[in-house]
């Protein structure tokens, strides 16, 4: 049906694109159908002809975050390099903007069916990327993790938690510190203390006890 095999975007596709743009601009909650149709330059009826709003919104969100995830874990082939990239880009200003959208999605997912499905899919995808990365590094002997899958889960969780803290500014935390914390956590997971992965700042310049 109207399979625009490889043409310029159909009006339908334009609606998805416009939704992505609006979501990026104003957030998931504040994104309204009227903004989208206006942006896409179509009548309000067309959106409802092709989609229901919750579906379109979830579709656009998933499309956006699939791209983001692929960017975050751009595979260079070298796990060491990839992990380092993961650490250094973990708390970018840009990533923090995405994190706001992530939080909104996780919240919406509780009451919005399509959003729930999309969120589960994308978040699993993101988690698997990190897991595979750590596995690969273990296989290549770059670092020594007793249980790389468990480490991936913990590291991912800490990443989520730190990102959340960054959103509503915490005095003791800024992007640089957050990155240091994440690297430190990884270093602690490594059995071989000479592993080069967590070499960054040895945590924050805190007072010890």
């Amino acid at each position: 049906m109207t399979a625009s095999t490889e043409q310029e975007p159909s009006r339908r596709d334009k609606l998805v694109e416009a939704t992505v743009a609006i979501i990026l601009e104003v957030g998931l909650r504040a994104a309204k159908t009227r903004f989208v149709t206006e942006r896409a330059g179509v009548g309000t009826g067309l959106l409802n002809h092709y989609f229901r709003w919750p579906e379109l919104r979830a579709l656009a969100w998933a499309q956006l975050f699939t791209a983001v995830t692929q960017d975050q874990f751009a595979g260079s082939g070298d796990p060491q390099e990839d992990l380092d990239r993961y650490f250094s880009t973990a708390f970018t200003q840009e990533v923090r903007r995405y994190w706001q959208l992530w939080i909104e999605a996780s919240d919406l997912a509780a009451s919005d069916g399509p959003m729930n499905a999309a969120f589960r899919r994308v978040s699993a995808q993101s988690r698997n990327r990190l897991r595979d990365l750590l596995r690969a590094g273990c296989v290549q002997g770059l670092w020594d993790l007793p249980a790389p899958d468990a480490t991936a889960l913990r590291l991912g969780a800490m990443h989520d938690g730190l990102a959340g803290l960054l959103l509503s500014p915490v005095a003791e935390l800024d992007p640089a510190r957050a990155e240091a914390h994440l690297r430190k956590a990884f270093a602690l997971e490594c059995q071989n203390p000479r592993s080069r992965a967590g070499q960054g700042t040895p945590s924050v310049p805190d007072q010890s006890c």
Copy 2:
């Protein structure tokens, strides 16, 4: 003004109580002024006489979570015991219910002034409790943390992240595993490997690499 010094709750207080109840029942987003006035047995006008909805909602939320935090870190005097309690209750069914409200609040805080203030205050309070707990344990020599404040931040972040994962069920995670991960993370932070704190399950029964 109507300072009911120590009487049965005034209608005003009843409104706050009712708001807490409704928030617990249906969530922050789904809580509506009409539910609250109905629950409190007052007219819709009274709510607006005393409050604006965003204020009342934030007030009730803060009251609820201040209580929750105090419960979570019930000081027995013994840091070892308190930390253990923190770990064992971290992912209770009940706590997960609260976590949903926490996420909603963190989301609302982005666009809701009163909610933002309340969230910052309560979350700082919660973080400080954990920090003080770890500090106390260090002082008493119960465990050996090079930088207890940094550990508190990381542990809190991981707690947040794991709780988030538990909300939209992840195949490899359940409350018991989440608790084990948190304990494991703490164990890794301890310099003295013989510290008794992280003695629980030695992480999940994952395959190593």
